[in-house]
């Protein structure tokens, strides 16, 4: 347990740490969302992006980033729990009647939403990063000839993953919870870091809600679009093409699908 | 008893410097051997305790509030006077001195008032250094506003919360000393007796209001800065906790009570609305700049104010004082309102109120201008009364506001009991028969920062430090205090102390308020013993399970107020003249102005406790005017 006596452990500095880590995590969430939205582009866009992430710095960068993210999460969560523990201790006997005036549900339940997001995160890693929870992950890597032994097909993995209505609903629900967390957190950090002054507070008060709406809308659009059947999986496109070719004439042995085929198959997708 | 003011001789301007040179000092190494008890943590007590601790003395402070910061100085609104002459409008120490002594209707000591004007300048400097956020001009310099009773602009202010800010300044200095261990703070402690050893003040008996324990505290000097006795009128602008107990119990021990009949009535307060009302709220006097004061011409006129035609209204101040009109001085305006209400012309429930009407001003200047000038006051009025003063006239009535009287002190602020110093509103010293606006804060801080630290040092230099509490005198005082509390609890009556307090206050207000007469005062003096008798028979003070017993605290204070009212009425009866706030109906000029009698009454009345069942004994300190010539105040 951190002691509050040292200036570096004062309530305000620790709140500042929560603000800084929260801010960085928001940047990560926004970046992650932007990457996710590549799904709406032709499949090689998101696949290329995924490949770039995996290969940057000869494959070391992703581990640095992962370590950094784990650290951010750990600090964000650890400090928050310590603060929350103190907050609970600060009012041992509650009110029989309590009528909050201005605080919204989101701001009063940051720990709850934070924990839900954390649990979701674990599931998300099991689901897509490690591919342990359902069969969609089998599409994650494909072998494409001797020049490119491993080809990342995140596109197919995501589309197959979100075809399951339960998984899609769960993701949407968790994004809403994440949105609630960001709604308060995205504005609150400016206060914790002392950036608010004068008219800035009105501005920073909008940052959280805007971030929340953008993240929820952006991330939820993917399962929704897939559920609506608007994004065919890359692998299906290949099969469809193969079927057309089969009708046309004697078919050669089925090739291992490659990026170039898809563009030809569905121009202007 | 010969009352010796101990004011130094010589030219007025040199008296204080001369006094400071004559006074003895205490070696820094010896200062820490002395212990001073300061009761009350308002402007006077807080500033005195902090300053004494800075000098190196050990200080204990006591207040009945839960924090020293809540003393009632905090409620002063307007400002604090100082002869800085920042406005280049001809102000000077001499002018502030003259204004104050004239405002006091020539019933104060020249030497004291001059010293007050002198140190007023240091007060502002001191407060600025502490970080008091005085109003500033765009150039960063201190701003001033004008106040009644002066033709120069010398009032420094922090919006409408000057008292609060000055008190927080003194409190911050006190906090610094508490942190350094030189001051021990005892909040929620009430002083219940003064302990005298060999005729010298040596300690106090207090009650810990949380545990209920009676405690003995000994010191080498005792400072009372416990404020005024306004609550003797029950309804006043004072805080509910304000009381006379500390000074009155010192009076019982032999301290003289001076000029208790000088009580200031403020003309613009929000009137009483019902029997349950506990408190009166002041509205700034500045409202009279644009508001017109009137009552209906027919008694008990129940029509809505806007339904009363112009011809049936009596703008009584404009009628009686054509040149000053609605801006007539405080005492004149207050008395005129009282007369109108006595004649049955008062408005509102109970008929104790007059209209303060802004309809003309709004027609003339437009609502936005009025809102700009008085917006916050109008809001406050609407918040309290639920009426919108832009639409219906305000109702106002005078209320008790400040007590010029208090324990008698000499030039060095020491009472007739050696070692007992009295500061601020609790003493009688500087305001004579009437106080000017923005002068109470000045006096409190002058006493605490710049006078008492010198004079207490001089006293301590002649005293051997370190007396304990294991003395029979402490045991006797403690037993006496315990006896009073036991008697209160043993009454086991059915009536709350508040009921008696309200009855007493109403009577003192009616018979000895804005105007007094021999008949009314004699009536009051006959009525008080009856209230006292019923009080002790029928007061209800139940025991509590814990130590805290607010009913007991209050009943004890009311008991003292009942006894004190007798001293007040006796003083008012004895002073057979009208001066300042003391208006005796028998002594007025043909046109209804106060008729002062300098030939026979140019003295301070100092009352000595006559003992159980006996009337108080009068001692006179004759006032000698060497430098100013008393003249008649005229408002025509």
């Amino acid at each position: 347990m951190m002691t509050r006596a040292h200036p570096l452990c004062s309530s305000i500095v620790r709140k500042g740490v929560v603000g800084v880590t929260g801010g960085l995590l928001i940047l990560f969430v926004l970046g992650h969302m932007a990457g996710n939205l590549l799904i709406f582009l032709p499949p090689e866009a998101i696949n290329g992006y995924a490949e770039f992430l995996h290969e940057a710095g000869h494959g070391t960068l992703i581990w640095v980033a992962r370590a950094g993210l784990i650290l951010l999460f750990a600090v964000h969560l650890g400090v928050t729990i310590a603060l929350k523990y103190e907050n609970k201790k600060a009012r041992p006997i509650g009110y029989a009647a309590h009528d909050p005036q201005v605080s919204g549900w989101a701001s009063r339940h940051m720990l709850l939403t934070g924990i839900v997001v954390f649990l979701f995160l674990i599931y998300h890693i099991l689901h897509f990063t490690l591919g342990l929870t359902d069969s969609s992950a089998r599409w994650r890597t494909l072998v494409e000839g001797p020049s490119r032994p491993h080809y990342v097909d995140v596109h197919s993995m995501v589309v197959y993953g979100f075809r399951d209505p339960y998984i899609a609903s769960f993701y949407i629900l968790c994004q809403v919870v994440l949105g609630l967390h960001l709604w308060h957190g995205g504005s609150s950090l400016f206060q914790s870091l002392g950036i608010n002054r004068g008219p800035w507070r009105a501005f920073t008060a909008c940052v959280g809600p805007v971030v929340a709406v953008v993240v929820v809308a952006g991330n939820c659009s993917i399962p929704l679009a897939i559920q609506a059947g608007r994004i065919p999986a890359r692998i299906d496109l290949i099969s469809a093409k193969a079927a057309i070719e089969a009708e046309k004439g004697p078919k050669p042995p089925m090739p291992v699908p490659g990026a170039s085929d898809i563009n030809k198959a569905v121009p202007g997708h | 008893m010969q009352l010796e003011s101990r004011a130094p001789t010589g030219p007025l301007a040199e008296k204080w410097d001369r006094c400071k040179m004559e006074m003895k000092l205490v070696n820094p190494a010896n200062k820490r051997k002395y212990h001073v008890l300061v009761v009350g943590t308002g402007l006077a007590g807080g500033s005195c305790a902090a300053s004494l601790a800075e000098l190196g003395y050990n200080v204990s402070v006591f207040c009945y509030q839960d924090s020293p910061r809540r003393a009632h100085s905090i409620a002063a609104q307007g400002g604090i006077n100082a002869a800085k002459n920042y406005r280049n409008d001809g102000d000077s120490v001499e002018r502030l001195f003259l204004d104050t002594i004239k405002g006091g209707d020539y019933r104060s000591r020249e030497a004291n008032v001059y010293r007050l004007a002198q140190v007023s300048r240091n007060i502002i400097d001191q407060c600025v250094a502490q970080g008091v956020p005085f109003a500033r001009e765009y150039g960063g310099q201190l701003d001033n506003r004008s106040f009644g009773g002066a033709q120069v602009s010398r009032t420094f202010y922090c919006r409408g919360q000057t008292g609060q800010q000055l008190l927080l300044g003194a409190y911050s200095s006190l906090n610094r000393q508490i942190a350094q261990g030189r001051v021990k703070s005892h909040p929620r402690h009430e002083m219940l007796d003064l302990v005298m050893v060999n005729g010298v003040a040596r300690g106090i008996i207090v009650r810990d209001m949380v545990t209920g324990q009676i405690e003995r505290h000994s010191g080498d000097a005792v400072v009372l800065a416990t404020g005024g006795y306004g609550p003797v009128f029950y309804l006043s602008t004072n805080a509910k906790g304000c009381n006379v107990t500390a000074t009155f119990r010192a009076y019982r021990r032999g301290a003289l009570f001076a000029n208790p009949c000088f009580t200031q009535i403020h003309p613009t307060c929000i009137p009483v609305t019902g029997d349950y009302q506990s408190k009166l709220t002041l509205m700034s006097e500045s409202l009279r700049n644009d508001g017109r004061i009137w009552v209906p011409k027919t008694p008990a006129d129940k029509r809505r104010p806007d339904a009363i035609p112009e011809g049936e209204r009596d703008y009584f101040l404009e009628r009686k004082y054509p040149s000053y009109g609605n801006l007539a001085p405080r005492d004149i305006s207050s008395r005129a309102a009282k007369e109108a209400c006595d004649a049955g012309l008062g408005v509102g429930d109970g008929g104790r109120g007059v209209y303060l009407d802004f309809a003309d001003a709004i027609r003339r200047l437009g609502e936005p201008t009025i809102r700009e000038r008085y917006g916050n006051l109008f809001e406050m009025y609407e918040h309290i009364t639920g009426e919108n003063p832009y639409k219906v006239p305000m109702r106002i009535y005078p209320a008790v506001h400040y007590c010029m009287g208090g324990l008698w002190v000499d030039y060095r602020l020491m009472s007739n009991i050696p070692g007992l110093f009295v500061l601020g509103e609790a003493n009688f010293s500087d305001h004579g028969a009437n106080r000017l606006g923005a002068s109470a804060l000045m006096q409190g801080l002058a006493d605490g920062y710049f006078v008492a630290p010198y004079t207490i040092t001089d006293y301590l230099a002649g005293v051997k430090p370190g007396a304990g509490t294991d003395l029979p005198e402490f045991a006797e005082a403690e037993a006496k205090v315990g006896g009073i509390m036991k008697r209160l609890q043993d009454a086991r009556g059915k009536t709350s102390a508040q009921v008696f307090h309200r009855e007493l206050g109403k009577m003192v207000w009616d018979e000895c308020g804005m105007a007094r007469s021999r008949a009314s005062l004699e009536k009051l003096l006959r009525a008080i013993p009856d209230i006292r008798e019923r009080f002790w028979k029928d007061v209800s003070v139940p025991a509590t399970a814990g130590g805290m017993n607010q009913g007991l605290e209050y009943a004890g204070r009311v008991a003292d107020l009942i006894d004190f009212a007798e001293v007040l009425a006796t003083d008012a009866l004895t002073r057979e003249e009208s001066c300042g706030a003391h208006f005796r109906e028998e002594y007025q000029t043909e046109d209804g102005e106060a008729a002062r009698n300098d030939a026979e009454y140019s003295f301070v009345s100092a009352w000595q406790n006559g003992g159980e069942g006996n009337a108080p004994v009068l001692h006179r300190e004759h006032l000698k005017y060497e430098f100013v010539k008393p003249s008649v105040r005229s408002y025509k």
Partner: protein
Amino acid sequence: MKLHLKVWRQAGPQDAGRFENHTVEGVTPDMSFLEMLDVLNNKLLAQGKPTIAFDHDCREGICGSCSMMINGRAHGPTRGTTCQTYMRNFTDGQTVVIEPWRARAFPVMCDLVVDRSAFDRIQQAGGYVSVNTGGAPDGNCLPVPKDNAEKAMDAAQCIGCGACVAACKNASAMLFVAAKVSHLGLLPQGQPERSRRVLAMVAKMDEEGFGNCTNQYECEAVCPKAISADFIARMNRDQIGSTLIPAE
């Protein structure tokens, strides 16, 4: 008007305490909330029962003594202190729950009376300018920009009632401490001790057991003097700055 009160009664700091039900009749709209309690207390006295203890003094909204949670809201339904809350804001037959401020740093002493001496100790830790009586230079030696003086006054008008702590779900004292730190921090007189002051006062605030700020501004919403939570941001800046870049 008739009101049903559910009032917290607690004989002393060690007592467990409980709610007690009372009915007050003859309440009029012009009564203040405390006057309504006076009526109830007089009734209790007539029955020989101990009165309900509550802190109050000036009854004009400036001393900061009064401190009640009324139906879940610090100081009651309107902005301002309890003493400036009028019964016209309640309806006939209404049930009113009256509780003391709840915070570990504000232990209940008796009924509705709590111990707010933690506020005093926070100010003793550094809420002053170290200047002795006498020897202060002329008040106009140090010009203070009007805007700074006004802003300092905005902060300085805090009455120390503790409503901010009471309303905060974490019982945090940040608004109070921020007002005190900012008052002196905005003035030139306060600059020499600025870093030392904020570090000392925040350390004391933490030590006293107040909770941490979660930027919900409930404090600002109930503050009788409408002190802005911007001062909290200001104190955060001061504290973080003073921690990371210690004064020379």
